[in-house]
């Protein structure tokens, strides 16, 4: 093969190679950026959606952003106030520990239920679990990005 033609082919392939070198460099930057973003603490840890609330306070379908410690009860000093006759003043608390949510019942009169099972003491709850506090049914959902 003619060396000149061969040399031109080398240059052509070098151009194509450089296109991919650029893409590779960019993807490295993107991956590093995404990793850094994943390390940043999320502003929201979880959401609590009201499925059914006979008293209308909180209204059905409303959602609460959850802090690391969220107390539930009828008393106005709770993070989430549930206006329901079957809810105790200080009923239960959701806490975020490490990477999981935990529910604790504060010896309430009518109890707290996770997916139909009554809670005694501290139990782990997962996203998608259904909680019942008094007559109010709630669902724990993952945070919105």
């Amino acid at each position: 093969m003619d060396p000149t033609v061969l040399a031109i082919w080398v240059v052509r392939l070098l151009f194509l190679g450089l296109l991919y070198a650029f893409l590779w460099a960019v993807v490295r930057v993107l991956v590093r950026d995404l990793r850094a973003a994943a390390r940043e603490p999320a502003t929201e840890l979880g959401r609590l959606v009201v499925l059914d609330s006979p008293s209308g306070e909180p209204p059905n379908g409303s959602a609460f952003r959850l802090d690391a410690v969220t107390t539930l009860g009828r008393d106005v000093n709770n993070a989430i106030v549930l206006e329901d006759d079957f809810v105790s003043a200080t009923h239960a608390a959701l806490t975020y520990r490490g990477r999981a949510w935990y529910l604790e019942d504060f010896a309430s009169t009518n109890g707290t239920f996770v997916n139909g099972h009554q809670v005694t003491g501290l139990v782990a709850v997962a996203f998608g679990d259904e909680l019942q506090v008094g007559q109010v049914r709630l669902r724990l959902e993952r945070p919105r990005a």
């Binding site: 240059v11 052509r12 450089l18 460099a25």
Partner: protein, 486 residues
């Protein structure tokens, strides 16, 4: 805990209004510089590849000296373009903003590939500033200037957000003006001539539409998500709250369809649907929209001869291989000739009587030319560059401070992505061909300027104000010391 003296009740401070700092401190942009160096090297090698191929073909039997052979095709063009890119980088460094560092190099590489393609095509194809490549270079320089100006100057989005209806009115006005005073090119009335400058307002309208949609959706998102109109078992979107957007879309689509700018019509509609989905995350809206799209397409097929022609050519281009199906078939041949590695820059496209076989090669079919000369490998890399732009845009959207900025960033990057998809898929006969430009690569001032505005706005939106940055945790210094010692 002792209270801070400045945050007492006696000194009222509005926490929402950040205090503008007037001192501008340059910020080193290492990633951007590194990527730009790769871009510069790539375009230079591409130019040498083109130059060598052209010189060898021109020399005929007498093989020229190897040093004379391997030189850039047009050193002046190359140097000017690269100098402009690095000047833009220097401006961004001096401005000291924390803007995205990937967009400028990516756009620069796409523009450079386009410039090489224009150098390679017959110079008499278009352009009145000394040929195709020189005209394209002028537009690229103006585009880079607009991009850096927007990235430097846009610090506030209120002028976009607050006057969204005004912007919408301006966009519709531009289109109407084009319809009345525009010129017909290839049966479509797209371009508007003001003195010596001709432009295609639909390119600018796509930016305006995204601004309007983002402004409207960010204001009315809760209504659109919570409410819904019920029609029997169907849950439709809340029609009253959608009405302004649908009306705007209908006006834009109507005018564009009457002007027979089908590519723009498709682009507007798809971007509208995508933004609606991004804002509401309702799959049902997307399904209804796609159904409406198919129904609308069927109606247009019956009503307009242009649409029928395009679809028929798409289904069977070989039924009229020398007439209507000609350019589609030539494009397919070009892709086939290119194969996997391509023929090399300057080596493809035997011209027929001094003109390339595809008439609108520099505007509508640049991907076919690149597919022939760079092959499948090259095309995949170019599509990868568009993916990078989309990823950056969506990333900027995800980390935006408010919904307007998020929707605007998502919409702007999706416009580029959808437009690249429409024309690339059209060139490859995946969907019916509609005349629209390949962003940053195609020849044409309006397209380059509109896309530069988009890239500049994305850069501006990616800026994070200093106070929004997370405070540096104290352990970082310790860990740095540990790393240094270990």
């Amino acid at each position: 805990m002792t209270p801070e003296p400045t945050s007492g009740v006696a000194v009222p401070r509005s926490p929402g209004v950040p205090i503008e700092r007037l001192t501008i401190r340059p910020r080193f942009r290492g990633r951007e510089l590194g990527l730009l160096l790769v871009v510069g090297l790539t375009i230079t090698v591409g130019s040498i590849s083109l130059g060598a191929t052209q010189r060898l073909a021109a020399a005929g039997d007498h093989a020229p000296a190897i040093t004379a052979l391997f030189a850039p095709a047009d050193l002046g063009l190359l140097a000017t373009y690269l100098a402009a890119l690095f000047a833009a980088h220097a401006l961004l460094v001096l401005s000291g903003r924390r803007t995205d560092q990937v967009i400028l190099p990516t756009v620069g590489l796409l523009g450079g590939i386009g410039l090489l393609l224009m150098e390679r095509l017959p110079q008499s194809l278009a352009g009145n500033l000394g040929g195709l490549a020189h005209t394209q270079l002028v537009w690229l320089l103006i585009g880079i200037a607009i991009l850096s100006a927007l990235a430097l100057a846009v610090r506030n989005d209120a002028w976009l957000r607050r006057y969204k209806y005004t912007w919408a009115a301006v966009g519709v006005g531009l289109l109407l003006f084009t319809f009345v005073f525009g010129r017909d090119v290839n049966g479509a009335r797209l371009s508007l001539a003001i003195g010596p400058v001709t432009g295609q307002p639909s390119e600018l309208l796509k930016v305006i539409l995204v601004v309007f949609f983002a402004g409207y959706l960010s204001e009315n998102r809760p209504l659109l998500v919570e409410e819904s109109t019920k029609l029997g078992p169907l849950r439709l979107p809340p029609l009253p709250y959608l009405a302004p957007m649908v009306a705007m879309l209908a006006i834009a689509l109507g005018i564009v369809v009457v002007e027979r700018d089908l590519g723009a019509a498709m682009l507007f509609f798809l971007v509208f649907l995508l933004l609606l989905y991004v804002a509401t995350t309702r799959v049902s809206y997307a399904v209804i929209g796609v159904a409406a799209f198919i129904a609308g397409g069927a109606v247009l097929y019956e009503l307009f001869g242009v649409v029928r022609d395009r679809v028929d050519i798409w289904l069977n281009p070989f039924s009229d291989a020398t007439g209507a199906g000609y350019q589609v078939i030539q494009a397919l041949h070009a892709f086939a000739r290119g194969g996997i590695l391509g023929t090399g820059f300057g080596n493809g496209l035997p011209t027929i009587a001094g003109r390339p076989p595809i008439p609108a090669l520099h505007t509508d079919f640049p991907l076919a030319a690149l597919g022939e000369e760079l092959g499948l490998v090259g095309i995949l890399a170019i599509l990868g560059l568009y993916l990078v732009l989309i990823e950056r845009g969506l990333r900027i959207a995800a980390s935006a401070q408010d919904e307007f900025r998020a929707l605007l960033a998502a919409g702007l990057s999706l416009v580029i992505g959808v437009q690249a998809f429409i024309i690339a898929a059209g060139n490859l006969k995946l969907i019916p061909l509609t005349g629209i430009t390949l962003p940053f690569i195609s020849y044409g001032g309006s397209s380059l300027l509109a896309n530069s505005v988009i890239a500049g706005l994305l850069l501006a939106l990616s800026d994070r104000p200093p106070e929004a940055r997370a405070p540096t945790p104290p352990r970082s210094r310790v860990s740095r010391l540990l790393r240094r010692s270990g």
